[in-house]
């Protein structure tokens, strides 16, 4: 008995047209399409209903799909995620929202002990096709605990997938892929890019495959591995390095953190021989460590210089007046890249 048959897919738009959208609108459009395509899809979280989400990611959906499918929950994150797990096990396709990255530790218990284990514990009888959405990262001058980058905790946890888009196109396509995924997906949305990232997005249904990185720009001298809002920072750094150092930089936006697209990563490293990993989290024990270790294991003889990591410091994120000194900026990426280039 299949408890959870595959999701009905929204029909591809008959004549898809491409519009320029920002990232949060792309998220909204994906949610809208998913809700329309299959009535098992539902959204739950704090302020996701009438208010349309504190970032407006769910704007208009409560009105369109009603209070049973777009649900303002009590303020209780274990309830939201534990509830979503139960809903998914029983055949629904819940999309749970945690309002900010900084409140995700409250749900680690459900995530670590259950989210990725139910399929295996039930020997394949039960599954948890749910999406756990949360904004990610800093630099929007938000209050304390609103600018965190907790991805490493999730990437170290078996049985789940971890995704983070950095363009509107990827946001929509990856979110639809996440909703259709038969397995749980933790879906981070870089909040700095919600409005600042604008790009071409086709109307109608399409997906971007989970597990595939994106080459942001090609280059030959050094690879920058990055994800989320740091993709944009990395582009600035690459520009500076091109202009001032004449260096040709390849940028890989991982898009899926776990399982990571190692093929693309290694192909790039094999080409350039040098690598900087740029991210926002406290650097020690970050996902950048895993990438560095993987590269060391598999590209040892191809490396021309040590893999450099540029991340947040190993302290809590300070209040926002100092956040730009905590989260790596283009200068820090440039400094690391120069060290690698001049090694």
């Amino acid at each position: 008995m299949k408890t959870n048959p595959p999701l009905k897919k929204a029909a591809a738009a008959p004549a898809p047209k491409t519009r320029s959208l920002n990232l949060v609108t792309a998220v909204n459009e994906a949610l809208d399409l998913a809700l329309a395509a299959d009535e098992r899809v539902m959204i739950l979280g704090e302020d996701v209903g009438r208010n349309g989400g504190v970032f407006r990611a769910t704007d208009g959906l409560w009105k369109k799909y009603g209070d049973e499918r777009v649900v303002d929950t009590p303020l209780a994150e274990i309830g939201i995620v534990g509830g979503a797990i139960g809903l998914a096990v029983a055949g629904m396709r819940p999309i749970a929202e945690i309002q900010f990255d900084g409140f995700m530790p409250a749900v680690f218990d459900q995530v670590v002990c259950h989210l990725g284990r139910i399929r295996s514990r039930s020997r394949g009888k039960l599954s948890v096709p749910m999406v756990l959405r949360a904004p990610h990262g800093g630099l929007i001058h938000a209050p304390e605990h609103h600018s965190e980058s907790p991805e490493a905790y999730f990437c170290h946890t078996p049985g789940i997938k971890v995704v983070i888009p950095s363009t509107p196109y990827d946001a929509k396509g990856l979110l639809l892929a996440a909703v259709e995924s038969p397995d749980p997906v933790v879906f981070f949305e870089p909040k700095l890019l919600y409005r600042s990232a604008v790009g071409e997005v086709p109307s109608g249904h399409y997906t971007v495959p989970i597990g595939k990185a994106r080459i942001v720009q090609e280059g030959n001298d050094l690879t920058i591995l990055t994800w989320g809002a740091m993709t944009v920072t990395s582009q600035k750094a690459a520009k500076k390095l091109a202009e001032e150092d004449g260096a040709s930089i390849e940028i890989v936006d991982l898009r899926t953190l776990s399982p990571v697209d190692l093929e693309t990563v290694l192909a790039s490293i094999f080409k350039t021989g040098r690598c900087v990993i740029a991210h926002e989290a406290p650097n020690s024990g970050s996902w950048a460590a895993e990438l560095s270790a993987l590269i060391a294991e598999r590209a040892f003889l191809k490396l021309l210089s040590p893999v450099m990591r540029v991340g947040g410091w190993d302290i809590r994120m300070p209040l926002f007046r100092l956040e730009q000194y905590y989260i790596p900026d283009a200068d820090r990426v440039v400094m690391a890249a120069r060290k690698a280039l001049n090694f």
Binding site: I78, A90, C113
Partner: protein, 375 residues
């Protein structure tokens, strides 16, 4: 009246069948004789099963095992108010619940022998695994009930937690949602007086655990958990309310853990035999037997027949359990994702390498059959 009463509540306690077998006919639920007999048979059988499991563990044929004895009414009876298509999720001590749901007990043994194949529910049933981090299933069962409500087919979800576990915040969030969305959920607190060595009195300082319900707008009742008839009535009423759209119920079943916490525990370190003795008088099986004999539904002859049948059943289950081939180590990579990710494909191959390193290339052909799908 400025210091005014804005809400009032009574907590009720339900008792129908007294320890000496007397029945309050006014409260007696209308149930067929077969069901009364089924309750008794199940309680009797699970008690015997429990005793055998302990023996198996003591003789090194089973891992750490949590005892059921004393709690048979609380465990075996409420599931009888459910349909197979309803959800049931016990605690890790809830072998009696799975048994009442029709699980083959060879699997319970297999699970406590440290074998993942022991998680094996009857087809068609909707059972879910208990959670070893206690209480973490409580919000999940709320979600199961929520799904049933949305499907509008009258399904309900029943779950259990211990008196100790009632202190976890998980219960708070589960009941908050269940009450808020009027979910068809039945929460049973299996208050057996102990959380390992910590007595009930070290959990919430409230008179009852049932009264917690009130904080969530949830119906609540305390029941003599060793009284099968009261337990049945409370559960059946709660199931009916849930099916009828009237929302969740919290049932505190007051029972007693007659044995150690698990086979790894030594209860003499922290409790006296006296309390245990006083509960022996309230044994659910003894009182149910008195009741059935009184009603001419049971006899010593039937009791003997049941004992013979039970022994045979347990022998079969133990034999079946012990004849499982050892698990295939590669099987642990199955069923982690719908399609295994590349790290798992690689790592499974590494485990094959390890097995070959240990036993030569041939070993891979000699492994017991793998059960799970890969990749």
């Amino acid at each position: 009246m400025p210091l005014k009463t804005v809400a009032t509540l009574d907590v009720k306690r339900l008792e129908i069948l007294s320890p000496d077998g007397a029945v309050d006919e006014s409260l007696m639920p209308k149930v067929k004789d077969e069901l009364l007999l089924k309750m008794y048979r199940m309680m009797r059988q699970i008690r015997s099963f429990d005793e055998r499991a302990i023996l198996l563990q003591r003789s090194g044929r089973l891992g750490t095992y949590p005892m059921i004895t004393g709690q048979e009414a609380t465990q075996c009876v409420p599931p009888l108010a459910l349909k197979p298509s309803d959800w049931a999720v016990p605690t890790y001590r809830g072998g009696g619940v799975y048994f009442a749901r029709g699980m083959q007990m060879r699997y319970a043994l297999l699970y406590w022998a440290g074998d993942d194949r022991g998680t094996h529910f009857p087809d068609g049933n909707r059972d879910m695994m208990f959670s070893i981090p206690v209480g973490t299933h409580l919000t999940q069962v709320m979600g199961l009930a929520w799904a049933e409500k949305l499907k509008k087919k009258g399904g309900v979800a029943m779950t259990y937690c211990g008196d100790g576990t009632s202190s976890k915040g998980d219960l708070h969030e589960a009941l908050t949602f269940a009450g808020q969305f009027k979910l068809p959920a039945i929460y049973i607190i299996e208050n057996n007086g102990w959380a390992i060595s910590v007595p009930r009195s070290r959990q919430a300082a409230s008179e009852t655990l049932a009264q917690k319900a009130w904080g969530y707008g949830v119906a609540g009742i305390q029941v003599d958990g060793n009284d099968p008839l009261a337990v049945y009535k409370a559960a059946a009423d709660a199931v009916a309310r849930a099916r009828g759209g009237d929302g969740p119920t919290l049932i505190e079943c007051e029972t007693y853990r007659m044995s150690h916490h698990t086979t790894a525990d030594d209860a003499t370190r922290y409790r006296s035999d006296k309390a245990v003795e006083s509960w022996r008088r309230k044994d659910p099986i003894v009182r149910m037997k008195k009741f059935l004999v009184e009603r001419k539904l049971w006899s010593e002859a039937k009791e003997k027949a049941l004992a013979v049948e039970t022994k045979k059943w347990i022998d079969e289950e133990v034999a079946a359990y012990e004849s499982f081939p050892p698990p295939n180590p590669l099987d642990m990579f199955a069923n982690n994702y719908e399609h295994a990710t590349w790290p798992l494909v690689e790592q499974r191959a590494q485990l094959e390498e390890l097995l070959k390193f240990k036993g030569g290339a041939k070993i891979l052909t000699e492994l017991p059959p793998a059960e799970g799908r890969f990749p």
